[in-house]
């Protein structure tokens, strides 16, 4: 997928010329430039004075564990590290196999743990973080010249990582000596936010594709069912679904049956997200010209083959920007579970704010978690842009 066309050579003026040409080329632009500079100073100045002199950042290092994993027991935290290490290995391999020409993404991934190590972690945790980078590099070099079976291994590893993670995190029963159960009421912070997001994407994506295909199906029952589902779910806000799951559902269940609260929230998020995804995917499907179907049938492909091999790959490629937008929205929507009493990143921030020694530090705590949300959102957005250009979206 290398781009054979060479880019035109750009003229690089020296900074002073550049300034004159771009920022001060007439009186109107000069005025705008001066005004913008003043605006940046007025806003940025106040914020940096606050951030460096007034803010009490001590609340962050003291509660770092809560922000990252919530109340997950300290003795079992190795499980999280193990899963993240596994993910680093898989990511390194996957990058080497499928994105080897995009060095910048790989470097970004490799640097992330090292940057995180700048946070006030303990030495042991910093070593863990550094080893994540090493594992990523190991994965990269192992998979550099991967054959087909190695590729399959990495792909299935990635697919299986999600259920395996949930299993390892929740444990194998109270009596199990190696992996005792850890109730989901102890999962929290970034861990819970990521879990809700990743599982939400992993399950709602195939569900959404099925619903989109169902809505375009020739079979009336499937079509009507899909339409009914999509329109019903899209007709209510996500918070309504979450309240329904947390408050109404228990009233309908028999007295001794109780469904895990995190699971209830997760199902609500998946159902909601799937309906929106279905419409996004349908948008991609409708952009495929009829000739593609006809050509495919003329080649003797069956309906299923046409859909899987010809239509879906093109439709999903077209839908990438909206799909990624949807996923970023999903990440931020997970913060709604704080309203129904789960300790995701936002929920844990609220309880940290009630600690008597850190009363009134709303700005510090919310600024900190905003940075996390921004990093995650921007990371997803950046990767999607790279993915788009790798697939030649908008150029072909």
């Amino acid at each position: 997928m290398t781009n054979t066309r060479s880019r035109p050579v750009e003229a690089r003026p020296d900074p002073l010329t550049w300034l004159r040409q771009n920022l001060f080329n007439n009186w109107w632009n000069s005025l705008l430039t001066v005004f913008s500079l003043w605006l940046v100073y007025a806003l940025g100045g106040g914020i940096s004075v606050w951030a460096f002199t007034e803010a009490n950042w001590r609340v962050i290092p003291v509660n770092l564990r809560l922000f990252l994993v919530g109340q997950y027991p300290l003795t079992e935290i190795w499980r999280i590290w193990f899963l993240v290490a596994l993910l680093a290995l898989l990511t390194g391999s996957a990058l080497a196999i499928w994105a080897a020409s995009y060095r910048r993404i790989a470097v970004g991934f490799a640097l992330t743990p090292l940057l995180l190590a700048l946070l006030p972690f303990s030495l042991a945790n910093r070593l863990w973080l550094a080893s994540l980078t090493l594992l990523g590099l190991l994965g990269w070099f192992m998979a550099r010249n991967a054959n087909l079976s190695m590729r399959r291994l990495v792909m299935w590893g990635g697919v299986l990582w999600v259920p395996v993670s949930v299993l390892i995190m929740s444990g194998l029963g109270d009596e199990n000596p190696f992996l005792p159960s850890v109730g989901t009421n102890l999962w929290g912070g970034l861990l819970l936010t990521m879990l809700l997001t990743i599982v939400g994407i992993a399950i709602s994506f195939p569900l959404g594709v099925l619903l989109a295909l169902g809505r375009r199906s020739d079979l009336p029952i499937i079509r009507w069912a899909s339409v009914a589902y999509i329109e019903l779910i899209r007709g209510v806000p996500l918070i309504t679904l979450l309240f329904m799951a947390q408050l109404m559902l228990p009233l309908f269940l028999p007295a001794n049956v109780s469904i895990d609260r995190v699971l209830r929230a997760q199902v609500g998020i998946i159902l909601f997200s799937a309906a929106y995804l279905a419409e996004n995917v349908r948008g991609g499907l409708q952009a495929i010209p009829k000739g593609q179907f006809e050509a495919s049938y003329a080649l003797g492909l069956s309906g299923v083959q046409t859909t899987l091999l010809i239509i879906l790959p093109q439709a999903l490629r077209i839908a990438i920007p909206v799909l990624v937008g949807q996923f970023i929205g999903l990440l931020k929507d997970t913060s709604l579970v704080a309203i129904v009493g789960l300790f995701d990143l936002l929920g844990i921030a609220k309880t940290v704010l009630a600690q008597p020694e850190f009363l009134g530090l709303q700005r510090e705590v919310y600024a900190f978690i905003s940075v996390f949300y921004w990093l995650l959102s921007y990371g997803m957005s950046y990767i999607s842009q790279r993915l788009e250009s790798a697939l030649g979206l908008g150029q072909r």
Binding site: V62, N63, R65, L66, G70, Q71, Y72, P73, L74, G183, N185, L186, F243, Q246, L247, P250, L251, L253, A255, N256, S258, I339, V340, G341, F343, G347, I348, K350, T351, V352, L353, A354, Q355, P356, E357, L359, G360, Q362
Partner: protein
């Protein structure tokens, strides 16, 4: 064993009856005694339970909560996780606070182990549903006791653990000294709470016109007050006291000497299980009594070893069977005091003078000190 006794006694009575019936009827006037004996046979099944005193059969639901809790191995306690002093998660990940400690005391009473409790953070709107649907066994979440909540919401308030009242805070330099001084002013208040309704009631009664500025959460309410968007802010006095310490210039804010409401806060259990209600209630009384008797978590072992007065001996379960009557172990009170402490210790841990959330005890003192804490006798 009892069944055998009951069966035997039933047989004996029956045989008496046989004899009575089989005996030759002596005279016409003797018809009455025969009818009376028939009445006795009807009463036999009721007398079958304990031999000593007739007991009214327990209503449906009695004892079910304790059974469920014991089978589960822990209590599920609904708490507030975002109120300084009453319920929050500390940096080590453990729950802490005044309401939280009550849950621990209940666990100590039921299991003899204060750690056997799972906390369920709840917000104001879902707390009653969670209790009704059985998701939690007890709600200990700064909830005000009121008639509607005691009836319609199918819960029973156990006992007040914290007497609070709604207050009003203004800036000192505003010169406002009473509610009438707020005429035409703006008051910041939180929506969806009894606070908002009380404010309307009290101001209507006083004939004071005001503009409410309502927000969904307490942080926004106090942020608006700090920004000067309203002349006064109202919430429970406990809230005002802890919030005032956060303001830039606490000395410039004064809490008016008016109490606009009674806010008795306490734990709540479901309707229909009086045994569980009793357990929850006597756990509260254990905390009160511990302070009254001067028993603390520090000296509880000495006090138990040297207990002489019958009342203290009954309290510790050295005499009598008070714990067994509740369906608990006989030393439940000892466990509560040993593992959680008495009321004073619990109070000082979260709301005492050494904490940033200090609230003077006010009404929350023993009746002997002019407060309202009064435990019925342990007998």
């Amino acid at each position: 064993m009892r069944k055998v006794v009951a069966l035997l006694s039933a047989l004996v009575i029956a045989s008496f009856l046989m004899v009575a019936c089989g005996a030759p009827a002596p005279a016409a006037g003797d018809a009455k005694p025969v009818i009376q004996t028939v009445v006795v046979t009807v009463e036999v099944p009721a007398a079958a339970a304990p031999a000593a005193a007739p007991v009214i059969p327990a209503p449906a639901g009695f004892g079910e909560t304790l059974k469920t809790v014991q089978a589960r191995g822990k209590i599920v306690c609904g708490v507030n996780a975002v109120v300084p002093g009453f319920g929050f998660v500390d940096a080590s990940g453990a729950y802490s606070g005044f309401d939280v400690d009550y849950c621990r005391a209940l666990a100590a009473a039921v299991f003899g182990d204060a750690t056997k409790v799972e906390f369920r953070p709840l917000n104001a709107s879902e707390r009653f549903t969670a209790l009704q649907s059985g998701e939690i066994d007890v709600l200990s979440r700064n909830t005000t006791w009121s008639l509607v909540r005691d009836t319609e919401l199918t819960g029973n308030f156990v006992h007040t653990t914290f007497y609070d009242g709604q207050g009003m805070m203004v800036r000192t330099d505003s010169g406002i000294g009473d509610l009438a001084g707020l005429d035409g002013g703006t008051i910041c208040v939180q929506t969806g709470t009894t606070t908002e309704l009380n404010l309307a009631d009290v101001m209507a009664a006083e004939g004071v016109a005001y503009t409410p500025l309502a927000f969904d959460n307490a942080d926004a309410v106090f942020a608006a007050y700090t920004e000067g968007r309203c002349d006064a802010v109202t919430t429970d006095k406990s809230g005002l006291v802890s919030r005032r310490t956060l303001l830039a210039d606490p000395a410039n804010h004064v809490i008016l000497d008016v109490t606009m409401s009674k806010e008795p806060l306490g734990p709540m259990v479901r309707h229909g299980d009086d045994q569980w209600f009793d357990i929850a209630q006597w756990t509260v009384f254990t905390l009160f009594a511990g302070e009254e008797y001067g028993i603390t978590s520090q000296n509880v072992d000495d006090q138990k070893a040297s207990a002489t007065s019958p009342e203290i001996k009954r309290f510790f379960g050295l005499e009598g069977d008070l714990g067994l009557k509740l369906g608990l172990s006989n030393d439940f009170a000892y466990n509560v005091i040993k593992q959680v402490g008495n009321y004073e210790e619990v109070y000082n841990r979260s709301l005492g003078p050494d904490t940033p959330t200090y609230i003077p005890r006010g009404l929350n003192q023993l009746y002997t000190n002019g407060g309202l804490l009064y435990a019925p006798p342990f007998r």
